[in-house]
Symmetry: C2
Subunit: 126 residues, 2 copies
């Protein structure tokens, strides 16, 4: 779909999105979905609430976290046992470091390529 | 799926993939699919052959190119009329510049974030 609105408002300003995926063979060990999930988990304190905030099933969130934990040297998420819904889940220090590194790479990349990114945006029709 | 092979061969070495998308509202004006298509078109000289080399239908390739051309100030692809299959398609100077800028952003970004990327890779299980 092309833009149909004639006015150049903020909603139609071009945005460069940069997505990182760390793959090992066929496995996407770390990608935007898992990082978003870790951030949601950090904000909510439970897999159930994190999954809900992302419109994701509990099962999918659990599988992503399990896959991530097993891809890493040390787990990104620690889950306490007990309670009806389990005892809640928290990011470990390494989980926090993982999120931080990932977001840092995004920011560094955008900043380093800022001139080329502007040139690319400048090629778009006004 | 976690890696099951105990030996650390090249196939299982972690790779950081970086994908760029230039979006305008809901439209992905420029993304990896369109750039791959432009490169295939440059290599093959026709939309038919480019689509085939990417396992894409002619119709989808044509639609992507049409959408791209209309997103840009000046078209990325010029198609000559005539002949049974049309007269072939070529990248314009701006099409070539678009591909070059896109690949440059990828390379600049990877290089700038090289230290953080290695740190992220180092968090993966051996």
């Amino acid at each position: 779909m092309a833009r149909t609105s004639p006015h150049d408002d903020a909603a139609s300003a071009p945005v460069l999105k940069l997505r990182l995926r760390l793959t090992v063979g066929e496995l996407i060990a770390v990608g935007p979905g898992k990082i978003d999930l870790l951030e949601a988990l950090d904000a909510t304190g439970s897999i159930t609430a994190a999954a809900k905030s992302l419109g994701m099933s509990y099962r999918r969130a659990w599988l992503l976290i399990d896959e991530l934990n097993r891809s890493l040297r040390t787990p990104a998420v620690a889950t306490a046992a007990g309670g009806a819904q389990g005892g809640g889940s928290v990011l470990t220090d390494d989980g926090r470091r993982l999120v931080q590194l990932y977001r840092q790479i995004e920011a560094t990349a955008q900043k380093a390529a800022a001139v080329e990114i502007e040139a690319l945006k400048g090629m778009l029709a006004p």
